[in-house]
Every structure is written in structure tokens, then in C-alpha cells.
């Protein structure tokens, strides 16, 4: 489930509010968006991919909320790790075309 909006990274662009397929976030008239309906989160990680600031963190636990050590996920590289892995950052663009499924399908 979505657990973290890192406030010092968030620029209130509200892209997460727009792209979340289950409408978990709410835009605020002032300040950064909020996780308004955490129970509706389906743990699909899409908000992380679309966040240009790597401010969001989705815990892999789909059914239960978890305490997250925000300091730790910043220092150990987990914040933004999925976006980097699929090549959606400037530095990792080459990874967009690195899909090796064809090796696994034997085709």
C-alpha cells in the first residue's frame, strides 16, 4: 500500500492525484497532496513510476499498512528504485528497451 509522500521532495504537482487508478490521493488547496483513501490502494506501484521527484513509496504489503522508516528508504536507494529500474529517469533511459522476456520465453 502507498505509505509515504516525502514532503521535502514533493512539489505539489499532483500528478499522483491524476494518475492513481483507484483515486487514493486528494489534492489540497494548500500544500502537498494527501493519502486520503489508503484502503483503496491496490499496490500497483504506478504512482511511484509517475512521480518526477521520487517522493512516493509503496510498501509491498498489499493488505496491511506498515510503518516505514523514511530516512532509511532515502539512504538505501529504495525511494525511486522502481522508476529507475524501468528506465523512466534521465539517467536510466537505456533500460526502457532492456526487456529480456524473449530469453525466458525461449522465442
Amino acid at each position: 500500500m502507498i505509505e509515504v509522500i516525502a514532503d521535502e521532495r514533493c512539489t505539489s504537482c499532483n500528478i499522483c492525484v491524476t494518475v492513481c487508478p483507484t483515486n487514493v490521493f486528494d489534492k489540497m488547496s494548500e500544500g502537498i497532496p494527501v493519502i486520503a483513501r489508503q484502503g483503496d490502494c491496490q499496490t500497483c506501484f504506478m504512482c511511484e513510476l509517475y512521480c518526477p521527484e521520487d517522493a512516493l513509496f509503496v510498501s509491498p504489503f498489499a493488505d496491511t499498512p506498515r510503518e516505514i522508516d523514511v530516512k532509511a528508504i532515502k539512504t538505501n536507494g529504495l525511494l525511486g528504485s522502481y522508476r529507475r529500474a524501468v528506465g523512466w529517469t534521465e539517467q536510466t533511459r537505456a533500460l526502457r528497451s532492456v526487456d529480456r522476456t524473449y530469453l525466458l520465453l525461449g522465442g
Partner: protein, 541 residues
């Protein structure tokens, strides 16, 4: 005919936004976006309404999928078609398989022309049999917008509109982020709302609650192959990421470390279900060599998110797994297709993707994401084009009468409103358990269907929900209706075929190589249809 760049006409009234369009597409996954692009490029004005956000919504966007991309080589095509006929119970249609292979080949090559970054292998070949969901659906959203499609995000449809002759003529729904409603009057509607995953949290699927089935049934539509609705995907017990392919390299163990006999991702998943009824089951991907491990990392980065974020090395350490129901998302049942243009049994309504039956290319067993992705792309294209043609043939529609087709949760009735969360739980209690839905048996199915029918009688007379609860109210009713067609059909198939396995009828029965049609709301019904002729030189089992 309207020009290519023409957009649907918009009007605003108090509390609602209204559009007049040639074609309305419900659902913005691969099937819906292909339909919208095809309809627009055939001259139609198009509105696409997605329950979530077109581009991130649905089973494809969050995942990755193989795709049934086979070069137009006679031997390769023959092998591709023959390869899964036995598994699907010989219910596929060779004519449709060939059409889908052709259309998919063109569609995937079109994606390459549009800039999809297909990988290139060491021998210099562009490899096109896999799609990364986020990349694919971001591209499809962009193509839809470029084609002039009006996209309504966070806009779940609630009910269809019918004209005076009973033809489908649009739909209405909610705009969740504006807190108001939408109405689209259209000359044709493409139902591309996906399958029903019963809120099981299989990856990306919680928007897929069978809403389109309910709406279509209220307009009189028929379903087919709804008994083939019980695939379960392997996932970490705590997580949402389902990528069954990778578990082909797994060893499955009981709590005490002993290997689960017969357990396998492919061909041994029911052994996992039986073991899970006894206690926890663990997986370790220890059969993958170093090269395979590296390829996995680069094939599906999201597979490793649950492991990386909990400090598990899935190749060296075992982790608890579960089976999550994928319902008709990876099942093959759905709206019955009545013609090559993906028409349904209701005038003005076309169906595409998982909202439609995939029996024509999969029979009673999915070829995994690969065939579903090919079907979404192909049926999306055909339904969109057919909807545009239908709209053009209808011409001007002045003085057309409109009525709302919605029933449960939408009309003023005598009984109290029902609690959608309680109904969701009650339906899940009937469709999740392995001993009812996976390992099927007549007595258990009969008892479950009786409980589901009783639930329906309880909700059918409920008063209209308010704006805050109507979406959940309709979702839960759609799940309930879907479950009833599933089990009604499952009881009628007194044999084991495809993914439908009956403990009391363990064998495939040649006399039952036929399709089961189903439908109805207050009273459900089933009927039988002949299956296509067997391909020459193919012996049925």
C-alpha cells in the same frame, strides 16, 4: 462522416457534463485504447471513459505481458495455433486464431512505428513478443489523445442508455474528482471494461469488478464460457505482484521444508491449492541459473519489488506464497461475440478485451497474458472500427429517445439500501475458496450458487444508492452477477475441460465439446451452442 480531428460535442448542465459522440468506449486499457484509436481513425468522434486513469488503469498497465506475436510463416503460425488446442479443450476457432495472429502482427508492428522501445537481441533482431505495461499504456494514451479522442479519467460508467428500439445509445457515470456525473449519447458503444477479478488484489486489477458485464446484461446481452473463470495466480502471500511465468523456476515447499508433491506453476498449480488448504506454502526460484536470473531482472522489474523491499533474495531464500483469484481477467468467459466485427447480442454494443469472451482463440484455458494481449489489441481494433461504421450508417439521430437501462442500486425501490462492503465480502467468500471455485464439485457449487442467488434477491429490490456509495454498490452487484453466471455455467458442464476441473467429473467428455451461453439477472439461464469444427488431422482427446 465527421473529419478525423473532430471531437465529441460537449455541453454542461448543472451537476453534469454531457457529450454527443459517434462512439463511446468504456474502459481505457489496451482494448479500449485500441478501439478508440481505430474508431477515430475511421472518422468517428470518440469519447473514452475510464474508471481510473487511462494509462495506469487495469491489468496490463501495472504489469508486463507476453504477446502472441508470430511471424507470418505458415509453419510457425500452425504451431502457434495447434500448440494450445488440447489445453483449451478444443474450443478454439481456427478462423479466429488466424485473424488474431494477423491483426496482432500488424498491431505490434504499428507500436514499433509509434516508437515503442522494443528490445534488440544480440543477433540484431527487434524482439516483439513482450510488452512492458507502463510503457505500452502510456503510449496508447498518447495515441488516443493524438487521434482526437476525448478522455474522461476517474469516470466510472454506471449504466447504459438505450434508444426507443432497445439499441445501446450511450452511458452515464460519475466524475469522481469533480463530484458530478457525465452523460454520453453515442451511436455505438464499445464495452472494454475488462474482466472481473473480485477485488482479489491481483496486480492492477481492483478496478476490474465486472461493471461492464452488469451494464451489458441490463441491456440484454449474453455471455459465453463463463465456467472458465477460475484461474489463480501465484503471488507472495503478503503482496500483489503476480507473474506466474517466473514460478516456472520455483521449488514449492511445505512449512517443514518438504517439497509439495506435484506442485508446479504450469500443470501443477492445483497441487499448490490443495497444499494451501492444509497450511502455508513457500517458493524459492532456485531452478534459475545466473543467466536466467539476470534476464528476469530485466524482463519484469516489478516482480522483485516485494522481495527487494522486504530484504528477501527470491533465488536463495524461500518466501510464503498464495494464489490470488484472477476470475474472468485470465479466464476466458465474457460477453458473447456474435460476429467478426466483435458485435454482441445487443444492437449498438460491441465488446473487446477481457470484457468479451476469449473462447475463440483460447477455448477453455488462457494462454496467459500473451493471448489476452493479442485479443485486446485485435478485438479492440475491430470493435472500434465496427462502432465507427455503425455510427456512420446510423447517420443523424435527431429526436432519438433515450432511457436508462440500469437496475440494481439505481432505481427507487421499497427495500433498504445494502452495504456494498458486506456484499463484496459475501461474494468473495463464495469465489475465493479453492475448494469451491478451483477444485469444483457439484454439491459445493450448487450450495454456493443457492447462497449467491439468495444474495441477489436481497439486493435486487434495494433502493437507489446515493452519489457517495453508488459506485461501490454497482461494483458489488456486478461481482455478484458475475459469480452467478460462473457457477450456473460450471454446474452445466458435467466434465473437466480447460481450466474447469470437476472432482465429480474428472474426465473430458467429447459430447460436451460445446459452448455454454449464459445470461439473466433476476433469473439466470444457460444454453448450449455447437463448438467450431475440429481442425483437420487433429484428433480430439
Amino acid at each position: 462522416m465527421t473529419s478525423r480531428s473532430a471531437r465529441a460535442a460537449k455541453t454542461s448542465v448543472a451537476g453534469a457534463v454531457e457529450y454527443d459522440a459517434d462512439v463511446l468506449v468504456l474502459g481505457g486499457g489496451p482494448a479500449g485504447t485500441w478501439a478508440a484509436v481505430a474508431a477515430a481513425s475511421h472518422g468517428a468522434t470518440v469519447v473514452l471513459a475510464d474508471k481510473g486513469f487511462c494509462g495506469t488503469s487495469g491489468a496490463t498497465a501495472a504489469a508486463g505481458t507476453g504477446i502472441w506475436y508470430v511471424e507470418p510463416d505458415a509453419d510457425k503460425r500452425e504451431a502457434a495455433m495447434a500448440g494450445r488446442e488440447a489445453m483449451g479443450g478444443y474450443l478454439q476457432d481456427r478462423g479466429w486464431m488466424g485473424r488474431v495472429l494477423d491483426r496482432t502482427y500488424q498491431g505490434v508492428n504499428q507500436l514499433a512505428d509509434w516508437g515503442y522501445p522494443f528490445p534488440v537481441s544480440e543477433d540484431g533482431r527487434s524482439r516483439r513478443n513482450s510488452l512492458q505495461g507502463p510503457e505500452y499504456m502510456r503510449l496508447m494514451r498518447r495515441r488516443a489523445k493524438q487521434a482526437g479522442v476525448t478522455i474522461l479519467d476517474h469516470s466510472p460508467a454506471l449504466e447504459l442508455l438505450l434508444d426507443d428500439a432497445g439499441a445501446v445509445a450511450g452511458a452515464t457515470g460519475l466524475r469522481r474528482q469533480q463530484g458530478d456525473t457525465w452523460v454520453v449519447r453515442a451511436k455505438a458503444v464499445v464495452m472494454a471494461t475488462g474482466g472481473c477479478g473480485f477485488l482479489s488484489k491481483t496486480l492492477g486489477s481492483n478496478v476490474l469488478t465486472g461493471d461492464g458485464y452488469l451494464m451489458a446484461a441490463e441491456a440484454g446481452a449474453e455471455f459465453s464460457s463463463m465456467e472458465f473463470s477460475n484461474p489463480y495466480a501465484i503471488a507472495p502471500a503478503f503482496g500483489s505482484v503476480t507473474k506466474t511465468l517466473f514460478y516456472g523456476w520455483a521449488t514449492f515447499t511445505h512449512e517443514d521444508g518438504s517439497v509439495v508433491p506435484g506442485a508446479a506453476s504450469k500443470g501443477g498449480r492445483s497441487a499448490i491449492a490443495r497444499a494451501l488448504l492444509q497450511g502455508p506454502v513457500y517458493a524459492k526460484l532456485d531452478k534459475a541459473d545466473a543467466a536466467t536470473r539476470a534476464a528476469m531482472r530485466h524482463a519484469q522489474p516489478n516482480f522483485f519489488l516485494p522481495h527487494d523491499r522486504t530484504g528477501i533474495d527470491p533465488f536463495e531464500q524461500r518466501f510464503p506464497i498464495t494464489l490470488r483469484l484472477e476470475g474472468t481477467i485470465r479466464g476466458t468467459g465474457g460477453l458473447r461475440i456474435t460476429a467478426e466485427n466483435c458485435a454482441t447480442s445487443v444492437t449498438g454494443l460491441f465488446a473487446a478485451g477481457d470484457a468479451a469472451t476469449r473462447e475463440l482463440i483460447c477455448g477453455g484455458f488462457t494462454g496467459g497474458g500473451s493471448h489476452n494481449a493479442a485479443w485486446a489489441m485485435s478485438s479492440g481494433y475491430w470493435s472500434g472500427r465496427a462502432a465507427a461504421v455503425h455510427a456512420h450508417e446510423l447517420g443523424a439521430v435527431h429526436a432519438r429517445g433515450y432511457s436508462r437501462a440500469g437496475t440494481v442500486g439505481l432505481q427507487q425501490r421499497q427495500h433498504r439500501r445494502y452495504d456494498p462492503a458486506a456484499l463484496v465480502n459475501a461474494v468473495q467468500d463464495e469465489v475465493f475458496p479453492y475448494h469451491i471455485n478451483y477444485l469444483r464439485e457439484g454439491g459445493r457449487l450448487t450450495a454456493s450458487l443457492a447462497r449467491l442467488d439468495a444474495l441477489w434477491r436481497g439486493v435486487a429490490g434495494a433502493d437507489a444508492a446515493d452519489n457517495a456509495t453508488v459506485r461501490r454498490t454497482r461494483e458489488s452487484a456486478a461481482m455478484l452477477a458475475t459469480a452467478r453466471w460462473m457457477y450456473r455455467s460450471a454446474l452445466a458442464r458435467t466434465e473437466s475441460r480447460g481450466m474447469h476441473r470437476r472432482d465429480d467429473f474428472p474426465r473430458q467428455d467429447e459430447a460436451q465439446r460445446r459452448y455454454i451461453t449464459s445470461g439473466g439477472l433476476d433469473e439466470t439461464w444457460i444454453a448450449f451452442r455447437a463448438a467450431p469444427a475440429l481442425p483437420l488431422l487433429e484428433a480430439a482427446e
